[in-house]
């Protein structure tokens, strides 16, 4: 190494690292090209299932106006609306679907994706009895919802008040969005 000039030495380090990162990048691109369509398909399927879970008969995407900034997409069907909202939970965005009938009552909610704490906030999306009980209580609610801690009627998930508040915020955004649509 003593005989090596500084330029050569720096170049050797830089080029080695460049080579490694280039190989890793190519490998990742290859894997991504295999898994990306599969993941996209799964997500589309999940969205479809989420719509049908909260809105019997499903619906078509329609234009909407939103003041909360939480509404991503609105689907309209015979039974009412399915609103995809993205409130912020404990660890990140909670992507969920809220079904609302034409008179402004919640038909049901389902969580599409979330990154909440396993065993706590993640219960909001779980297909366990606790998760179903949490999501089920929203059905029939209207106007504005909040957790009991904030004076509302929603029983928060134990140990996951922030996640529960996020879900309430999502439901409220969906309710006001549908109210605006008349």
């Amino acid at each position: 190494m003593k005989t090596e000039s500084t330029v050569k030495y720096v170049l050797r380090l830089a080029l080695t690292l460049l080579l490694i990162t280039a190989v890793v990048a190519v490998a990742l691109a290859a894997v991504n090209s295999v898994t990306a369509p599969k993941i996209a398909l799964l997500n589309a399927q999940k969205t479809q299932e989420a719509i049908e879970a909260v809105l019997p008969g499903g619906g078509e995407e329609v234009a909407f106006t939103d003041d909360t900034g939480l509404v991503a997409t609105v689907y309209q069907g015979n039974a009412g609306y399915a609103v995809k909202v993205t409130p912020t939970g404990f660890n990140g965005t909670v992507e969920m679907m809220v079904g609302i009938d034409p008179s402004g009552n919640v038909l049901g909610i389902s969580v599409i994706s979330q990154s909440e704490t396993a065993g706590l906030g993640a219960v909001s999306a779980a297909s366990t009895s606790a998760g179903e009980a949490f999501r089920g209580q929203f059905a029939g609610m209207s106007g504005s919802v909040s957790v009991t801690k904030d004076g509302g009627a929603v029983d928060a998930i134990t140990g996951a008040t922030i996640t529960s508040r996020a879900v309430c915020a999502g439901v409220n955004a969906a309710l006001s969005c549908v109210a605006n649509m008349g």
Binding site: R12, L13, T16, L17, I20, T21, V24, A27, L28, V31, N32, V34, T35, A36, K38, I39, L42, N91, G92, S113, Q114, S115, E116, T117, A118, G119, L120, A122, A125, A126, S127, T128, S129, T158, G159
Partner: protein, 214 residues
């Protein structure tokens, strides 16, 4: 190369969780159900074997001044591959572990083994080291999971058995919710570490007695 010695080290005397105290973040965070423990353990084991093998193979090619950057790039590559495959083929597990799969990149176990073992040993020995350390991590994780799940949710095999609900052992009104929260993680991990220390001392005494008897 001594497979038996490496296996014993990974499982007990140099267990990544209970002795080296590496990867604490994921250990404390995800050990709330059996499904999580097994899934995380397998993911880390696969990544550990792959990164150990590749880093060992490249150990004479990577200049030591940039080794950490090179190791992290390689590890991040494998973690992303595992993350993408989980999302595409086992979405339930990817969802349950959430952000902790990408966080394996910064899990000290993987970088620790790369630095302490794979960069100095042959490819085969490094693969065995990855497997043994991975098994040690998985076993420690599963034990913590089973205890926390039993005390915190009152079930066994959550996310895996009985259609994801787990087999209920303690009636629903009794379990202490705190056990699946962070405080329970610290408590249970402390007891698991204490138990493994006791077991090591016990085995040591036993082998000493045997020698004395000879």
């Amino acid at each position: 190369m001594n497979f038996k010695k490496q296996f014993k080290e990974g499982l007990l005397t140099k267990n990544p969780v209970t002795v080296q105290l590496l990867g604490m973040c994921s250990t404390l965070a995800i050990t709330t159900s059996l499904f999580n423990g097994i899934g995380m353990g397998l993911a880390v084991t696969i990544i550990l074997i792959c990164s150990n093998v590749l880093i060992s193979a490249l150990r004479n090619f990577i200049p030591s001044q940039i080794r950490i950057a090179a190791y992290i790039t390689i590890i991040a590559g494998f973690v992303t591959v595992v993350d993408l495959f989980l999302q595409a083929y086992i979405p339930a597990l990817a969802e349950s572990l959430g952000v902790f799969i990408p966080l394996i990149v910064v899990n000290c176990i993987v970088l620790g083994r790369a630095e302490a073992f794979a960069s100095k040993n042959s490819v085969l020995a490094s693969a065995v080291d990855g497997l043994c350390q991975g098994i040690g991590y998985t076993v420690a994780l599963v034990i913590t999971c089973v205890i926390r799940e039993l005390l915190g949710s009152g079930t066994f095999g959550g996310g895996l058995l009985n259609g994801g609900e787990g087999i209920r052992i303690i009636p629903a009104q009794f379990p202490a919710m705190q056990m699946v929260m962070p405080v329970g993680g610290f408590l249970v991990l402390g007891f698991v570490i204490a138990a493994s220390q006791w077991l090591m001392k016990y085995l040591e005494m036993k082998s000493k007695k045997k020698e004395a008897a000879k």
